[in-house]
Amino acid sequence: MSLDPATVRRIAKLARIRVDETQLGQLQTELSGILSWIEQLNEVDVEGVEPLAGGAQGAQAMALKMREDIVTDGGIPEQVLANAPDRIGNFYAVPKVVE
């Protein structure tokens, strides 16, 4: 699997990571190398195999626990906002989104 520069740009856009044009070549090589390597999975016969999503299914073979749909925490805006890079009142602040 070899990725073209346009695909690397598209992945970076989807991942919301800015990639300079100067870094594009190296990323293209590295990502293509990793993807080629993982393509060895194509030789495994997976016909009729149910996909396994989680460790809990694997280790415990049990359904995930359910809980009551009730409020158990909250009312702590100062703690919630304590690490915000910018805030206005009890809100996170971001650059203007709508003109």
Binding site: L27, V44, L64, P95
Partner: protein, 491 residues
Amino acid sequence: MFSELTLVAARDGLRRKQFSARELTGAFLGAIEALNPRLNAFITVTPELALEHAAAADAALARGEQGNLTGIPLAIKDLFCTAGVRTTAGSRILEHFVPPYESTVSANLLRDGAVFLGKANLDEFAMGSSNMTSAFGAVTNPWTRQGDNAPLVPGGSSGGSAAAVAARLALGATATDTGGSIRQPASFCGIAGMKPTYGRCSRWGIVAFASSLDQAGPVARTVEDCAILLTSMAGHDPKDSTSADRPVPDFAAACRRGVKGLRIGVPREYRSEGMPPEIEALWQQGLGWLREQGAEIVDVSLPHTKYGLATYYIVAPAEASSNLARYDGVRFTSREDGADLTELYEKTRAAGFGAEVKRRIMIGTYVLSAGYYDAYYLRAQKVRALILKDFTDVFRGVDALVTPTAPSAAFAQGERMDDPIKMYLNDVFTVPANMSGIPGLSVPAGLDAQGLPLGLQVLGRPFDEETVFAVGAALERAAGFAALPSMRAEV
């Protein structure tokens, strides 16, 4: 001398009033001050907090209250959120993050009286096998090759935890294991490290990497020390729906069970080509030790072993790309300004994440993207099911498996950095346990020709950590591993 104590011996000394928790903690803080500038095992040291914890422990001991860990100084991997203490995950993007809450595992340790010395260095977001990806600098392995002072890696991602314990800067440490991040550094640093069954410890408050694989566990000098730490760390937590609602056994008691009558499997697929002969020899020696103690050794097959790593490098980046979406420059990270919100996200994440983290997020984004999901992610989930089935089949006939922990001893800082896949190959023997959720323990078992430690790995049935500890302790007794790293505290 405090540096010579195991966790068990320190606990006995505290209970017998041979020394106080404050004396013990002071000695370890002094050791950190002396050696951390060279090892960089801690990102943050919290001496005031440690002495507060120690004073509380002394008061409890004076009242006759003996918790499982009262007065025991520990290092906490900087992936566990600690209330009021900066938690970086080894990333620039969380450089100033101070959690307002305590992770369940670290809260359990505090409940049982532990003393926290500080936050241990790690690969950024636990993504790495060398601790070279930390934004806060590499960790130096306290071991060096005979006649060669080249700084070696401690392994990763829990490199700071393992180096701190090996250099006697802490009696034990928390760690996490997504693909080998407890066991491989334990092997590289000549200590014991236990990844319990997925669900044994709550993941709540641990910075998430790959949620279906991440599991917390201890590293310590001995197998029994790990067992004691895990007894405190484990347990059901309603805040993590994947944490197991089952009783926590007395893991330390299991260390004394012995292996008489146990059937130990040797997976033939782990005998990889190019394995150093001394690792192969140590493996055979370990099996011989178990046979001498009454175990039966059985050849077994795990046919999908060779696909474990490739499966891992789809599943783990996919989950990471989703988990790390939260670092957006809005809620709890540093921020790079942008003209609009998208530019803010893109610039914040470009500046805040290191190269390996970006690679993994992008691989994960790609394998989950429209048109590629079935070919990569869904196929990997099916191979994952086959890897689990291999183990399920084998554990019908054997009680545990014994393998090498890693395909090499510790390597030099800067080695294997030119090609990401070379670094990934470190985890070939450890990844299958994460894919299947089973417990795995690394035990220091011998030295290579250059005087570096090598570990053997014990794998067991889901939620049968007791047998894993029994086999690990038997290996430990027979190995009598007494070698010491060249850099270590003497306080």
